[in-house]
Amino acid sequence: MTASVDTTAAISVNDLTLAYREKPVLWDIDLAVPRGSLMAVVGPNGAGKSTLIKAILGLLKPASGTIRVYGKPYQEQRRLVAYVPQRGTVDWDFPTDALDVVLMGSYGRLGWVRRPTKSDRDAAMECLGKVGMASFADRQISQLSGGQQQRVFLARALLQNADIYLMDEPFVGVDATTEHAILTLMRELQSQGKTLVVVHHDLETVSEYFDSVAILNVQLIAAGPMNTTFTADNLRQAYGPRVASKIAFLKP
């Protein structure tokens, strides 16, 4: 697969190798994410799933290889990309409320020094409404449940009004209502032609929630449409033989 000639790709990753000190965490990754796809990134712990997302966002510097967003470097295209970090990466005890966190989604467009306006606040309220959190706008963020915090992060990404959404484990530790809300939202975004790349850990729901998948374990094992890619063989390659019980639901 040579992603460099794939002009329809929303994201194309070529020969990406990335190391923390001497240990490679991603090795020679070639991946093209077609426009409009709803792609899961799966793999065992330490497979480099979050690292891949962070590399696409320019947060980590590759040892080699290139990453393009609609054919250009991330820095030129950042307005088109929204990031939903793992919920556990921030201190929810921070003195602020839900609406204020969502408003952070307007900062990139505002640029240096300029403050959010009334219309930014209205847009942020609308995004809170889309995730079913309108009545929690002025709630101190530590008083939200894990699922509610995740939806606040999602609303913040929505406010960026991006074309590509990169989400790191949005389904971890959330309640059923939130899981449903996130899923509905992801599908709605996809129906609007947006591209979503989502790090996901629950193998049982992968084929139900997503239409394509990238299976990763330092190297890219396989990537592509769900039915041809999400196979027991590929998963065994990524997770090792012990995955058998976890993927018993897959027809051999």
């Binding site: 962070k54 966002l57 320019g58 947060l59 820095q75 950042r78 307005r79 990309v81 990031y83 970090p85 990466t89 921030v90 201190d91 921070f94 003195p95 602020t96 409320d97 966190v101 952070m104 900062y107 990139g108 505002l110 640029g111 240096w112 020094v113 403050r115 959010p116 079913g132 101190q140 449940s145 894990g146 699922g147 509610q148 915090q149 995740q150 960026q160 530790g173 959330v174 309640d175 209502t177 939130t178």
Partner: protein, 316 residues
């Protein structure tokens, strides 16, 4: 000295007015900037950088020649503190040493080095007259009107920049990774904030000195956090607590014989902080205990309304 005389002196007595004004400005500036340091879990940064300022003061004294004005010495302090900040960043980035340990290394090495030069200078002629040792614990009474004017200027610039870059500083403290993905330079905002913290340290060196300066950055922020869950309010309250402590300390030390200003300010600040930790309206210990025990007894007496089952909660 009775209260009436004291109040009149604050407005009319040159020395007292200078000391009170200087201490209040210090309290406001360090209170505001301390909020960001606290929320970034960098409370130790103020301690490291203020101690790191000592060799800068001494080297500036050595190099200054005839013009050994406080301004020149404080420039030296700022330069050394800033170099200390750079070294902390370099150590954290290029080794496996964590930030708190890097701060500790900078604190002790710079302060130790500074103290050695200070001792050598003290034993030679001239340095005693310049009163270099006053920068250890501060000597507010040695402040001149011109020093306070410099402090006012530095403070106004710092606070103006905090207002201008409020949203950038907030996001830096809350979610630095996200800040980078939306196109802001982490390094630039980090350097700006650290520079402002260095400025607030410089403002405080004459009043409270390098050893106690970190209290001025940490305590007002920690106290203010107990009263509010909103960052902008927290900053205003921290500024207020810093100002009140500064004024109290300055006035108390002026009205008693041989009570040093800096340590008195820190004691006043400590008392306000302890009070806030106990009685703060947002998260003070007492109210938390009262709320908990009320809920417990309500459960035991079956008077607690059955909570509305909220379909969206219970995520964890």
């Amino acid at each position: 000295m009775d209260i009436g005389t004291l109040i009149r002196d604050i407005f009319l007595d040159y020395t007292l007015r200078t000391v009170v004004l200087g201490s209040v400005i210090l309290g406001i500036t360090s209170g505001v900037l301390g909020c960001f340091a606290l929320l970034r879990r960098q409370s130790m940064l103020g301690d490291a950088l203020s101690h790191a300022a000592l060799p800068g003061i001494c080297i500036a004294f050595l190099l200054a020649g005839e013009n050994k004005s406080p301004f020149v010495l404080l420039m030296g302090a700022a330069a050394a503190a800033w170099i200390g900040a750079i070294i902390i960043t370099v150590i954290t980035r290029s080794t496996r040493i964590k930030e708190d340990a890097a701060m500790g290394v900078v604190l002790v090495s710079f302060f130790g080095f500074g103290y050695v030069i200070l001792s050598l200078l003290q034993s030679s002629a001239g340095a005693g007259q310049a009163g270099l040792d006053k920068y250890l614990f501060g000597r507010a009474s040695s402040m001149l009107q011109s020093d306070v004017e410099t402090m006012v200027l530095l403070s106004a610039i710092s606070l103006g920049l905090v207002v201008a870059f409020f949203k950038e500083f907030k996001l830096l403290a809350f979610n630095p990774e996200y800040l980078r993905t939306i196109g802001f330079s982490f390094r630039r905002i980090d350097i700006l904030l650290t520079t402002l913290i260095v400025i607030s340290i410089v403002i405080g060196l004459q009043t409270v000195g390098v050893v106690l300066m970190s209290a001025m950055l940490t305590a007002p922020a920690a106290a203010a956090r107990q009263w509010t869950n909103k960052l902008s309010h927290m900053i205003v309250i921290a500024a207020g607590i810093g100002a009140v402590s500064g004024a109290l300390g300055a006035v108390i030390s002026a009205s008693a014989q041989r009570v040093p200003t800096g340590p008195t300010i820190v004691i006043a600040l400590t008392l306000i902080t302890l009070f806030s930790l106990a009685f703060g309206s947002a998260r003070g210990l007492v109210w938390t205990l009262v709320r908990t025990s009320r809920t417990r007894s309500a459960i035991q007496h079956h008077t607690l309304a059955v909570p509305d089952i909220e379909p969206v909660s219970g995520g964890d």
